[in-house]
Symmetry: D2
Subunit: 324 residues, 4 copies
């Protein structure tokens, strides 16, 4: 095995891209729903503003609702636009092992740095099934670095410390997109050891760093799509150890997030994850990601309104930290 990207390379801001959509993308009869031009423009915008890595096709990246053809062309656009300037981890979560393997092979052949992989979710998976799934992928793609995507709502359960301990023995796995820094975080970090970097969300970075300073070199976020400036300021503050500034920015980011979660609730958010994040991105003003694709194309006005406010609040932060 000869991984070109390892756990020690997981540093900084790993931003997940949305998949920009054409105007008619919410319709069932839309045939090619991707706005490729805007896709390329976002990649360039992220790189020009010092993103550390780009991920595609998680939940709000609509891994679930693109056709296979769209998915292929979209990732091709991202990979070729990035053109090696930053690592690209392509999302290839599907309903089963073999489809994920064949899609993963395509992505690696196309030049992706690595893979961003959630697990199949028709059946909830127990520990052996989860480890078996990632082991199969690793066996099929021995040279592909993998970022594990854990999302308890999407994939019916949260990885446990014991699972992290077993995943850490699969050499391909370099990082994990993590859901929230709470009671289980330290046990997960301990179990993951040096082989897997657990990446918290932007608004949890400071708190993870306070608890385990050496274990929080990187985060995942979608906020970069609303502007990289606050994230860069936070990253810098943490790197130089400016506790007060890191704390201030963190509370600003948390304040901007507040209305994104209906009734302050992650479960509720998960019912509208795609719709809410795309609404937030559009409201921030930097990107035009279009409507959500079916079946996740419906949302009530009042729930969407929280995402609009979140986008506008973040835009204000972006203005503040971009210095313009």
């Amino acid at each position: 095995m000869n991984l070109k990207f390892r756990a020690q390379d997981v540093r900084g801001i790993f931003n997940i891209m949305p998949t920009p959509a054409t105007e008619n993308a919410a319709r069932w009869d839309c045939e090619d729903s991707v706005d490729y031009e805007e896709s390329a423009r976002i990649v360039n915008m992220l790189i020009d503003n010092h993103v550390d890595a780009i991920l595609t096709n998680g939940t709000f990246g609509e891994g679930a609702s693109l056709t296979e053809t769209e998915w292929r062309k979209f990732n091709q656009t991202v990979i070729s636009t990035a053109n090696g300037r930053v690592p690209v981890f392509s999302g290839a979560t599907t309903l089963n092992t073999r489809d994920t393997i064949s899609r993963s092979r395509e992505m690696m052949a196309m030049g992706a740095t690595g893979l961003f992989l959630g697990r199949p979710m028709w059946q909830e998976m127990d520990e052996d099934a989860i480890i078996g799934f990632y082991s199969d992928i690793a066996e099929a793609l021995p040279d592909a670095p993998i970022i594990v995507y854990d999302n308890p709502e999407a994939f019916k359960g949260k990885l446990t410390p014991k699972m992290y301990g077993r995943l850490a023995k699969i050499p391909n796995i370099v990082a994990s997109k993590y859901i929230s820094v709470g009671p289980q975080y330290l046990a997960d970090v301990e179990a993951a050891g040096d082989n897997i970097v657990i990446m918290p969300l932007d608004s949890d970075w400071y708190f993870a760093w306070k608890w385990a300073p050496k274990k929080a070199p990187a985060i995942w976020t979608g906020s970069g799509n609303c502007g990289m400036a606050p994230l860069l300021a936070l990253k810098h503050a943490i790197e130089v150890g400016d506790d007060a500034l890191a704390r201030t920015i963190t509370f600003e980011i948390r304040d901007a997030y507040k209305t994104l979660f209906p009734r302050g609730n992650f479960h509720e958010f998960s019912i509208y994850n795609v719709q809410l994040e795309k609404t937030r991105f559009n409201a921030s003003g930097l990107v035009k990601v279009g409507p959500s694709r079916p079946p996740y194309n419906r949302i009530s006005e009042d729930i969407a309104q929280g995402a609009v406010i979140a986008g506008q609040k973040y835009a204000a932060l972006q203005k503040k930290y971009a210095g313009n």
Copy 2:
């Protein structure tokens, strides 16, 4: 709209087929995992033994873990073998609306009687999303009869009476595969009205019939794969109103099921649904459905053992009612 199969045609035993697998089907590098010969043989066996309809590719029918090519060839085999002798409802549940539409169109063009459709499950769907999803399918395939597949574990939530009321206004929807006859059943039946036949599981048929005699003309089952005889005997007893006999057979079937559910628990069962049902079918001795496909290819010996016993117990019933 010109449906060839309507709610009033939903009568009798709707058996869901497994997708027979080759010996190496549990491996990630298996390329064509379907045993087409056995698939055809099972279709013939079911028809010869008076099944009323055949459904494919629900959960244990491995809708999730077939490649698209396998799924196409398998359904082609089923449809062409059935050759119009009984209705065939092809499963086309995918991760999104457009994939389900394109697969559904293929199936209808191939000669399927109708569709057997669960909903996308990456995000939990709210009422509007569920109704919107089925409405989109119906708009795209105005001539396709649809059996709704409701499975609270697989699809993250149970349909409510209010949803049944709205689904009943979509003319394509003729039936619903129902999970368990309990407190909500009568409200669902009332909401569904005459437009949707709510189909309980074989072991609940008698109980649904006792509660609402005119509303229980049909069931879904996988037990037909272990032998049609007990089901035919039950069907006959209910048709002629032989309460005592229907009750006796029902308790025999329930007894055979008992060990299929780990700790008597549906949630636990759902973590191993595919593995358990395929194990049961194999243990019954009438079919050779092979191993389960990844990622649902792992199960502990002791949990599997309950399914073996369930299959053996059903086989004894089959022997008793087949009179041989």
Copy 3:
């Protein structure tokens, strides 16, 4: 052991009384909150209208929120008013085994026929704890017939078939107040055998009877406080085997209940059980049960409104079946 009331005596309508309250009973500084006169009047009304047994101090009977003195005087009133005309089962659910035993002894000495006992609910109890609890009570009161009160929301979990099997070996236990006739009902009935009568709610009686005709001789209800007539009509219809009439009355009763459950949800109902039932009883017009006692003395207008409608609808049924 010499039980004066056995499982075979559990027949008919077991109505749970509310604990009528004085006008200031919702205040924390109320010292004697019981309206004893109305309490006696309700006992007489129930007996005059052919109730089969009276139970006190479950959830809506405010077993939780009476002071010990009030509880004692209230039960004294009920027992002495009944004066042997119908069996009285006194509620003595407390936070622990010894308090329940000492209260139970008081009640039996006072002339109660038996006890109506939920389990302590500070900690959720596992199987051994539940069986141990009832065994201790039985050992302490060998001559006291016990009706087990199972309420999954109040007592943090539902009795399982296995527990019923073990409870059935404790001779004192003669019946169980049961929550809802669904998938687990038949297994519970089977496990309970002939030693414990599982009593469904009034609106489930017909359905329990259809499933297990010999196993449904009795029900529990609070509806008797709104009028015994519909219940007597239902009882008669079931006794003479008039299926159509029993079904009609059942659907009328279910229709009357409909708005009692906020959003159709038992969990939600349980947050306001006391308040909702007392509101329903008051709205029915036959009894004056006053306000709810603290801390269960608050409820929003719109949730309470559903209970008002439920009471009014039942009152109409009462009028219809009382023939006046």
Copy 4:
């Protein structure tokens, strides 16, 4: 109002006492189950070893399973032994508002510094009910400082930031026994403001302090019953800002806790909270708290074993930090 103990007085180690039991305390026929001598000895031991405050009768303090007489005499013993040397907060959680008020008045008259109060738990309480409950208590006892006891398993739900905001307006409430420092912690702290000190568990102190240094002046614990030395060392390390030492001690304490939670699970722990904590205390060797009282007097050997190990591990820490 004239509170003698205010939020600003909440500093240091608030240790919850068990209620030592006589040898026959697990039996239903035990009449006075309290070991008063050991109770007094533990109070002295805690004070001699610099505990900052003593709390009684939460969950493992068997607030639920003492008779009222035992509860009175036990608190009398604790209060008179403490004799003003440290504040004593007496537990008076009952099934309703009025019982809690009358018990609270007794305790204050007896010389308790304040009250340690969970909420009634027969019905789950919504926001208005919870605020109403504590408001009623505060109105009845205007001079009594109150520590709110929040325990999501015992009291069916976790306090929300919005509730903390409303509780903070009730002047009597000075602190809250908090369950776990996770995603909601900072919002709770912010909502509680300066009026309520949110007290984490000992093993979370360091982490709360890292996140909100000025908001973590005090903790609750039962570990003091196994020895005060590690807690004093931790307290000192945090006071002088010795991050590395505080961290080391914290991880030692966490390691000692590890086996206390069956399958690492708080829900599971809650089913045996009393039994597990008393087993841990006994195993630590410093106290003799006897068996658990019914109905919480049963536990399987293997689950109890985890608590024995936890007690032994803590004893080793005590030895290390006590320097003997």
